[in-house]
Amino acid sequence: MESLQETAVVTLVLATCLASAAFAETKKEYRFTVGPNANISVDTQYGAISAKPGSGNQVVVTATLKSDDVEVDNQQNGNRIDIASHLLRGTDQQAGQVDYELLIPPDATLNLHSSTGPLSAERLQGDLTLEGTDAVVNVRNVENGHVHVRTMRGPITLTDVRNGHVEIASISGDVHLKSVTGPLVQASSGSGKIFYDGDFGSGGDYRFITHSGDIEALVPADVSAGFRAHSVLGRVQHDFPLQPRHSRFSEEVGRSFIGTTGQASSEVVLRSFSGKIRLKQR
C-alpha cells in the first residue's frame, strides 16, 4: 500500500514537472548596434510589445516566450532590425505568446504588430506604426515623429504627442487623445468613440470622423481654431460663442455648426454619420 502511494506521489510530481517544463517561460535577450534613424520592426501574433528609449546606439530586445512551441526570429540588415515570433506546431494563443520589451534609440523608426497586444511606446522621437486586431494601444510622450495606429477593436490612447502627423484608424475601437497636437491629427473610427482633451494647438489640421461613434472635444475657453462639425443623423452641440465664418458649407441648428474662436489658428473638422458631436469648454 505504501509503495502504491509512493508511486502515485512520484508520478504526480513527475507529471507536474513535465507540464511545467512544457509551459516554462523563457527569457531571451538580443542586442543590436545601429546607426542614426534605425528601423525596427517587431511582429508577434500573440503578446505584448513595449518600447522605451535606451542609451546610445544600442537596441536591446528582451523576449519572454511562454512555451517552447514558439521561437523568435531576429535579423539585422544594416540599420534595419526585424524581430518576429514564429509559431511552431499549430500553437494556440496561450502557448504562442511572446512578450517583448524594447530599449531603442529615441530617433528610431518603430513598427509594432500584435493581434492581442497590448502595444505601448513612450518617450520616443521617431516615426511610430502600431497595428493590432484587439490590441490596446498606448502612446505617451512622443515628439516630432509621425504616429500611425490601426486597430480593429482595440482601444487607442495617445497622451502628450506633439509636432508630428498623427493618423489613427479603427473599425470599432475607442480613441482617446489627451494633449495631442501637431500639423495633422486625424482619427477615424466606425462605431468607436473619439474623445479629445487638448487645445487644438500648433496651427494644425484636426479631423475626427466616426460613423456611429460619438465625438467629444474638451478644450479651453481660449482655444484658437476654426470649427466645422456635422452629424448627418446625430445631434451636434457646442459651448462656445463662435464667430461666424464664410463657408460653402451650410449650418443646420442641432446638426452642424461652423465658426471660429480666437485667431482661428487651427482647423478642426468633426464629422459623424449618426454619432453625437459635442464641443465642450473646460
Partner: protein, 254 residues
Amino acid sequence: MTCSDVQRVLPELLDGAPDGAFQTDFDTHVKSCPACSELVSDLKLISSEARQLAATEEPAPRVWVRIAAELRAEGLIREPQSAPTRPILIPTSPRRRWSAWWLVPVAAALLAAGSYVVSHKPAPQVAKQQAPATSVTSAVPETPAVTSPSVPTSAPQQLAQKSAQPTDIVGPAVGPAVEPAPSAEDQQFLSVVSTRAPSMRATYENQLQAVNADIRETQAYVDRNPGDADARQHLMDAYQQKALLYQIALDRIQ
C-alpha cells in the same frame, strides 16, 4: 509569342534576367502589339520609380492595392482558381507573405465601387445651401489619401465598371429586417479566415457584419438624399472602413 506569354515572362525580364530565346520573341511581339507595348512601358516606369525608393520609404500597401486593382480592371491578372494565390505581376512586400493576396484587389475594388457609386449620384441644382463641388473627389482630402504619385492613375469609373457593384448593399429601403447574405467576396474572405485563423473567424465576421450594416445604412440615406455631399463622403468612409478590415485581416493571416 502571344500576349499571355508576354505577361508570363515579363517579371523575369523586368528583373534583368534576360533569356536570349525569350528576348527576341518578346521584342518582336511588343513592337507589333500596342496593348503589350503600353503594359511594358507602364511597368518599366513603375519598376524604375520603385528602385528609387529608399528602404525606409517602402510604398504603403495602398500603392500595391491600386496597382492590383488597375491590372485586374484591365484583365491582366487572373482571379485565383481555388486557394488564393499571388497575382503574377505584382511584387510582394519583402517582410510579409500575402498568401491571401486576392483580398487586396477586392478591398481596392470596394473602395473604387464606393467612389463610383458616390461620384455618380446626380448633382443637385444650384441651391443656396449646397456646396458647388458636390463630387466625392472634392471631399477626398478629408479622408485618408488613397492615391500615390508613383502609380499611374485610372479613372474611378473604369475600376468601378470592372468591379462588381457592392452586392451586399440593399436597395434604398430604410433598413432590411433580415441580415442579407454575405457577398461572394465576403464569403471568400471568411472562408480564408476560417482556414488560416479559425479562432478569429467569429471576430472578423462580426466586424464585417457591422461594417456592411454601416454601408447599407449610409447607402440608403444617400439614395434618399442624393444631394447630401457629406453623406456621400460618409459612404466613402464606410467603404474605407471595410477596406481597412480586409487589410488588417491580410496582415494577420499567414
